[in-house]
């Protein structure tokens, strides 16, 4: 489900801005580290951090969009990709500088420390709430895009920049907002992931490839697609090695799936 | 048409829709070699779609397209081009970043199949250079040869379009609104060029145009399209007097 949140952010940014944000994993990582700073170092309540950290990272994303990304929309794809790649490099090392290269931990929020029995197996309560939160956020976003005025504006800007602009929509502002939202989603994923795994400066790199795959398989720009993709990719990994003989194949599964989708149906399962 | 002298280009019941709209609706047309036929019609009549179908950019939903009797329906653009059909584009579609010379030379390379040669120095290939220069002289662009297309006037760019088409030594030439966006002086130049080419080369020309003066100046035959169908087809004088054509143009764009 974490993969879903991150993939949704990526998909959203691509769907509206047309930019493939290589640096998306870095924002995920930032979310986790900001959470670390607030919770472990600052003693802030975890649930408050869940709201604060994405806001902080989203704001940073917005600033980056205005300062750098904005100039790149007219340029060829490659320069946009290179810009986001430069961002990864910078953000990765910034994290290293601020928090060091060593592993960091964020404790699980207290009320959810126990395990809940479901169907004969025990699941940690926190993990369950993460699983539940994913679709909730996703649904809320999808409804917002569909039904609210702001959502319609975003969809208009995504479909036809010039037309939207001609109709009086402040397209640059919409783009900034969407980029900020996308990175905030990645950061949300990071905050949620923080109690579950050790934080390290490499965590961004690890997640970006997987989230790419999820977004591509589901269809760049599609919410249901990101959901299905995250299910497909995430769950295969989550169940552990099913059969040792297929272990190698299982690791390669996400890539093979992506390659198959790109060859058979490049727009993805739900892509438009 | 006898079987041993097939029309240069023939369409049989060709149709193509987009969503629910029939852009080209059951069009049949036969074009004799060496003639100059204009296709006219109001915007949205289906002229460009027809061109896209013939040149391979689009596949027809139904019908057949034959080039000198050979069925080329559904072939991709490069395959159609190899069969000696060349088209120019309504929206100038040249290699903007390259010089005029390089633009035309690329077409010559393509025509000769020289693209396979990966080791020879393209600059020292005399015949390539001379052929390119000859083409540029033919269309009056010799002086502009080293200039990047990006720096050219609109009219000159349209001529580069035509030079590229000529470089392919086609039998059938499709010109898509060649005078679009040109001032009267440039327009006259194109008209003279097309007339001269037709006279000198005897190739088959198909022309779509909005400028009626041009149409009536060069055409031997005019085909009128409206909402995807052919509503009139004949010599310029006949078309001039056709009531349905007048109606289609809503009151007399026809000269």
């Amino acid at each position: 489900m974490l993969l879903f949140l991150i993939a949704v952010g990526l998909s959203l940014i691509f769907g509206v801005l047309g930019v493939l944000n290589f640096a998306h994993g870095a924002f995920y990582m930032l979310g986790a580290y900001v959470a670390f700073q607030l919770v472990a170092r600052g003693g802030v309540d975890f649930w408050l951090t869940l709201v604060l950290a994405p806001l902080v990272v989203g704001a940073l994303g917005g600033i980056i969009e205005v300062a750098f990304l904005r100039r790149m929309y007219r340029r060829e794809t490659v320069f946009q990709l290179l810009l986001t790649f430069a961002l990864i490099l910078i953000l990765d090392d910034l994290v290293r500088i601020i928090w060091g290269s060593g592993p960091r931990m964020v404790p699980q929020p207290a009320p959810l420390g126990e395990s809940i029995p479901i169907g004969g197996r025990f699941f940690p309560a926190y993990n369950l709430s993460v699983v539940a939160l994913g679709p909730v956020v996703g649904l809320a976003l999808w409804l917002a895009l569909r039904s609210t005025h702001a959502g319609r504006i975003v969809r208009a800007a995504a479909q036809d920049r010039e037309m939207a602009s001609a109709l009086g929509i402040d397209v640059p502002r919409v783009f900034t907002a969407v980029f900020a939202l996308g990175t905030a989603l990645a950061a949300l994923g990071g905050v949620l992931a923080a109690p579950l795994r050790t934080l390290s400066p490499a965590m961004g790199d690890a997640i970006i490839i997987d989230s790419f795959i999820v977004a591509v398989v589901g269809g760049l720009g599609s919410f249901p697609g990101a959901f299905l993709g995250a299910l497909l990719i995430g769950q295969v990994g989550a169940f552990g090695v099913v059969n040792p003989a297929f272990a190698q194949l299982q690791i390669a599964f996400p890539f093979i799936l992506m390659a198959l989708i790109l060859l058979a149906r490049p727009r993805g399962l739900f892509g438009g | 048409m006898t079987t041993n002298n097939p029309p240069a280009l023939e369409l049989r019941n060709v149709s193509r829709s987009f969503g629910g709209v029939r852009a080209v609706d059951d069009v049949s047309l036969a074009v004799r070699s060496g003639t100059l036929t204009s296709i006219i019609g109001p915007n949205g009549a289906g002229k460009t779609t027809l061109y896209n179908l013939v040149s391979g950019r689009l596949r027809p939903d139904a019908g057949r397209i034959l080039l000198r009797g050979e069925d080329v329906t559904g072939l991709p653009p490069h395959a159609v081009a190899r069969r000696r059909l060349a088209r120019s584009f309504q929206v100038t579609n040249v290699f903007m970043g390259l010089s005029v010379f390089q633009n035309v030379r690329a077409a010559v390379i393509a025509r000769r199949g020289a693209g396979r040669r990966w080791f020879a120095d393209v600059e020292s290939d005399r015949s390539l250079r001379e052929d390119t220069q000859r083409l540029l002289a033919q269309v009056g662009l010799a002086e502009q040869a080293p200039r990047p297309c990006r720096t050219l006037a609109h009219g000159d760019r349209r001529i580069v379009e035509i030079a590229i088409v000529l470089a392919l030594e086609p039998n059938v030439i499709l010109l898509d609104e060649p005078t679009a966006g040109m001032n009267p002086h440039e327009t006259l130049r194109i008209v003279a060029l097309v007339r001269d080419l037709q006279r000198e080369t005897g190739k088959t020309f198909l022309l779509t145009e909005h400028d009626m003066k041009v149409v009536f100046a060069v055409s031997e035959r005019i085909v009128v399209m409206h909402q995807g169908r052919v509503i009139a087809d004949g010599a310029p004088d006949a078309i001039r007097g056709d009531a349905e054509v007048r109606r289609a143009y809503l009151g007399g764009v026809v000269a």
Partner: protein, 308 residues
């Protein structure tokens, strides 16, 4: 042209005056410069951005390592490595060129990471994360490849030869077709050119020369490791080309020299090489699109692309 010959002679004389450290660095510049040149054939000349060229670099490298360990002489292993890389580029390229720009970039990224994953996981064959080491590099036909000075000269000779071949390619009619594809793929299709066919050819040639670089890199580094296929390795030629300038033939090599020198300089003083690299890349992407070479050319009065 004369300038080049002088430069080449100067480079050939280096082993007699330079330190081992410098020569080793220079060898790396040459090999990665070749890798970057192969990338630029695809990117600068044909307009195709591949984020997975390291796949061919690695496939070649691993082939060489595996054969050396089994007793093959270096020259034979070298050729085998190139063949393997070219075959892989043919297969993967055929599958990939049908896609448009962004999806092509992603698919090539995926191929690269698949090779990485294979190298990482297939312990029995590749040694996993440890890689393949202890490569026996012997004297062949009187040439002691284990000597760093000799290896430098070999790398120089091979890189110069490959650069010459690439130069011929981009200045040939074939090269003009690639350039036309970059400028306006649709238009050139309407002249009778099967664009996919040429894109595949460019991809295979790029893979071939990436394979040459990889086949020499492994004996040079004395190890074949999964990192050779990682996307960060694929990003190196991209960075070098952007740094040096994609619009000129030698831009990527200049970029390689700058990149490696910089990396060396920076990592000796700080561990934050990524930050420095990112900060340098930013202005390159935002402002200096022609890279260093492009910038210099403009400053000295030439403008535009070196497409002649």
């Amino acid at each position: 042209m004369r300038l080049l010959i002088v430069a080449l002679v100067a480079l050939a004389l280096l082993p007699f005056i330079a330190t081992q450290f410098f020569l080793v660095l220079a060898t790396e510049v040459l090999l990665l410069g070749l890798f970057a040149l192969s990338f630029n054939l695809l990117f600068g000349y044909t307009g195709m951005l591949s984020f997975g060229q390291a796949a061919y670099f690695a496939i070649s490298g691993y082939t060489v390592a595996l054969l050396l360990v089994r007793g093959w002489p270096l020259p034979a292993a070298f050729v085998a490595g190139i063949v393997a890389a070219t075959a892989a580029a043919l297969v993967l390229g055929w599958l990939s060129v049908r896609l448009n720009a962004i999806y092509f970039a992603m698919l090539t990224l995926a191929w690269g990471m698949m090779v990485f994953t294979a190298a990482f996981q297939w312990r029995d064959l590749t040694g996993g994360s440890d890689g393949i080491t202890n490569l026996p590099i012997d004297v062949v036909a009187g040439i002691d490849f284990a000597d760093f000075r000799v290896f430098y000269l070999v790398a120089l000779a091979v890189t110069a030869l490959c650069a010459w071949l690439l130069w011929r390619i981009v200045h040939s009619p074939f090269g003009q077709v690639l350039i036309a594809i970059r400028e306006n793929a649709e238009r050139i299709a309407f002249t009778g050119i099967d664009v996919r066919h040429y894109q595949l050819a460019a991809f295979v040639v790029a893979g071939l020369f990436a394979g040459v670089a990889g086949a020499l890199f492994v004996p040079f580094a004395r190890i074949a490791a999964p990192s050779m296929a990682h996307w960060t390795r694929s990003a190196e030629p991209v960075l070098m080309t952007v740094l040096g300038g994609p619009g000129t033939f030698f831009g990527p090599v200049v970029g390689s020299a700058i990149f490696i020198y910089l990396r060396n300089f920076v990592t000796a003083r700080t561990e934050f090489w990524n930050l420095v690299l990112g900060l340098i890349l930013l202005p390159m992407v935002l402002v200096f699109r022609g890279g260093i070479v492009g910038f210099l050319l403009e400053a000295f009065g030439h403008t535009g692309h070196d497409d002649e």
